[in-house]
């Protein structure tokens, strides 16, 4: 099953690579995706995934690009990221900060988080 192929990501057409690098690029993508999307349900989904994913940024960096030491999430494969979150959230998995933090999220929330990061480009130095 090609779940990780991004074909299931409803808002995959966000033109993330069409913008110049830098903060304004990051500004342009999500705003356009969330608010100017033609189909309201898809706009909502994009905005919801952006909001959920932003809660990872305290440790993993703004838009999933780490400032160092902690993994970047931007550009990870959808299925890979979802599997990692699911694995950490298993009841028997303990002893590591993320294995507990991951238990705070529903499967739907994990899917939205994975959607968001899988659509972003991988950081250049990653």
């Amino acid at each position: 099953m090609s779940h990780g192929s991004r074909n299931q990501v409803p808002n995959r057409n966000i033109p993330v690579t069409a913008h110049p690098p830098g903060p304004l690029r990051m500004a342009a993508i999500p705003a356009a995706a969330a608010l100017l999307w033609a189909h309201p349900a898809e706009a909502d989904r994009a905005a919801d995934s952006r909001l959920l994913a932003s809660q990872c940024a305290q440790c993993h960096g703004t838009n999933g690009v780490s400032a160092g030491g902690i993994d970047s999430l931007a550009g990870m494969e959808y299925q890979d990221l979802l599997d990692k979150m699911h694995d950490m959230a298993r009841p028997g998995e303990t002893g590591d900060l993320m294995k507990h933090q991951a238990k705070g999220y529903t499967t739907r929330q994990m899917r939205l988080i994975a959607e968001y990061f899988s659509q972003l480009p991988k950081p250049e130095d990653d």
Binding site: C59, A67, Q101
Partner: protein, 424 residues
């Protein structure tokens, strides 16, 4: 004609300010007046809100941070200044750091907020108007009887107080006693006071006979209980004396006395962390009801639930949702608030079922226990559709229970990422 939303009046108000050039509206490219959000306070909450409003909002959205100081000094990691592991300079984050996102910084003090007119009055005499106001002022203290922060520093707002406490610790005599008080919950950074006691005890290890008396107004350790119980009873046995249920009554620094509900304690250095309440600007705005110390808000948007204040949002330590007060949490709340403001300015709802199920916040932090080992604590919060409050997801709450070199190294990566997501 003088309605505050009238463009002419708005521009007059804004044009009357000092630094008007920086604030004046850009050339109109559409008929609509550019929306303006004012963020009061450039700490973890305010800076994150301003940055994410510019990242997520319409490109024309104007965002202004107002703060009396040009630089925020991070409380996060500031206990490491006491041990000279970090300099205070390493914790300085200029508000101008967000200029690259298009955030305007105004160095001034807010002396009044009019939630009906949506205007903010500044000490300089300027009056600014906005569509949404975000108050992120942090904490203020309820002064204990006889307390003076110069003689018994709190060092709970990082800066000069941190340096003063460091100097006092270093000047402490052998066999001296360091007394630290812990305010009743809720207070800023639940594990922080216990972390500080460990840090100070580690520093005092070099002084023969020196010890820490930790006077907690609460019934027991408020965060990372297993970790700190283990540290106090093992590693720092005889070095830290922990007393719960010690309510602070008065301070007499000249006599070196701390008066509590458990009696009088004498020490050479008094580190008094007084009871907290919402910041001055939040209280003056009217967002804190009589008899309360915090501002009630709707956690879907952090909009005030006080009547007539729906366009005023309160994030971080001053808000009263019951979530832990910390820089990491203020950052988390700021993103929910910024998302809500962007949607509200676009005429959208913030309480649709899909969004409601996407509102989360989280806490993750590291505490130094010794000069080379740290512990961690984490928790996730989700919006509860029944209570309409944020709820701790029980399975997510965990502490390391011990301390390690690995966690000590991770602590610096965590702090650096948190600072970068917030201030850069």
């Amino acid at each position: 004609m003088t309605h505050p939303n009238d463009p002419t009046r708005r521009d007059l108000l804004i044009g009357a300010t000092a630094g008007a050039a920086a604030l004046s509206a850009p050339a109109r490219i559409s008929a609509a007046t550019p929306r303006h959000v004012i963020v009061v306070g450039g700490g973890f909450g305010g800076s994150t809100a301003a940055k994410y409003l510019r990242l997520w909002g319409e490109p024309s959205l104007r965002v202004t941070i107002i703060d009396p100081k040009p630089v925020h000094i991070s409380c996060v990691m500031s206990n490491l200044v006491l041990s000279r592991t970090l300099s205070l300079g390493a914790l300085r984050f200029p508000h101008a750091g967000l200029a690259s996102y298009g955030v305007t910084f105004v160095k001034d003090t807010v002396i009044g907020v009019d939630p009906a007119a949506m205007t903010v009055e500044l000490k300089s005499g300027a009056m600014l108007s906005c569509d949404k106001l975000v108050l992120a002022g942090g904490i203020s203290f309820v002064k204990p009887q006889g307390w003076n922060q110069r003689t018994a520093p709190h060092a709970w707002i990082a800066g000069g107080q941190t340096m003063q406490l460091r100097n006092m610790i270093e000047a402490m005599p052998d066999h001296g006693t360091y007394i630290q008080t812990i305010p009743p919950s809720p207070y800023r950074c639940p594990p922080g006071p216990y972390e500080r006691a460990c840090t100070v005890a580690d520093i005092l290890g070099a002084k023969p006979g020196a010890r820490v008396i930790l006077l907690d107004a609460n019934d027991g350790i408020q965060a990372s209980k297993a970790t700190f119980t283990r540290a106090f009873n093992g590693l720092y046995r005889g070095k830290i004396e922990y007393r719960s249920g010690a309510e602070l009554v008065a301070v007499d620094a000249a006599a070196g006395e701390v008066h509590t509900s458990l009696g009088v304690f004498r020490g050479d250095v008094l580190n008094i962390i007084p009871p907290h309440r919402a910041s001055v600007v939040v209280r003056r705005s009217g967002a804190v009801p009589k008899g309360s110390h915090w501002a009630p808000v709707d956690p879907l948007s952090y909009a005030s639930t006080v009547q007539g204040m729906k366009n005023v949002h309160i994030i971080g330590d001053s808000q009263g949702t019951g979530q832990p007060k910390s820089g990491h949490m203020a950052n988390a709340q700021a993103k929910v608030c910024a998302d809500a403001i962007v949607r509200l300015l676009a005429g959208q709802r913030v309480d649709g079922i899909s969004r409601v199920r996407s509102v989360t916040t989280n806490s993750a932090c590291y505490s130094p226990i010794t000069h080379d080992k740290a512990a961690w604590l984490t928790a996730a919060f989700a919006y509860d559709e029944t209570t309409r409050q944020m709820r701790l997801v029980p399975a997510s709450l965990a502490e390391s229970g011990s301390w390690s070199r690995e966690s000590y190294a991770e602590m610096f990566d965590w702090a650096n990422n948190l600072w970068t997501d917030t201030f850069r």
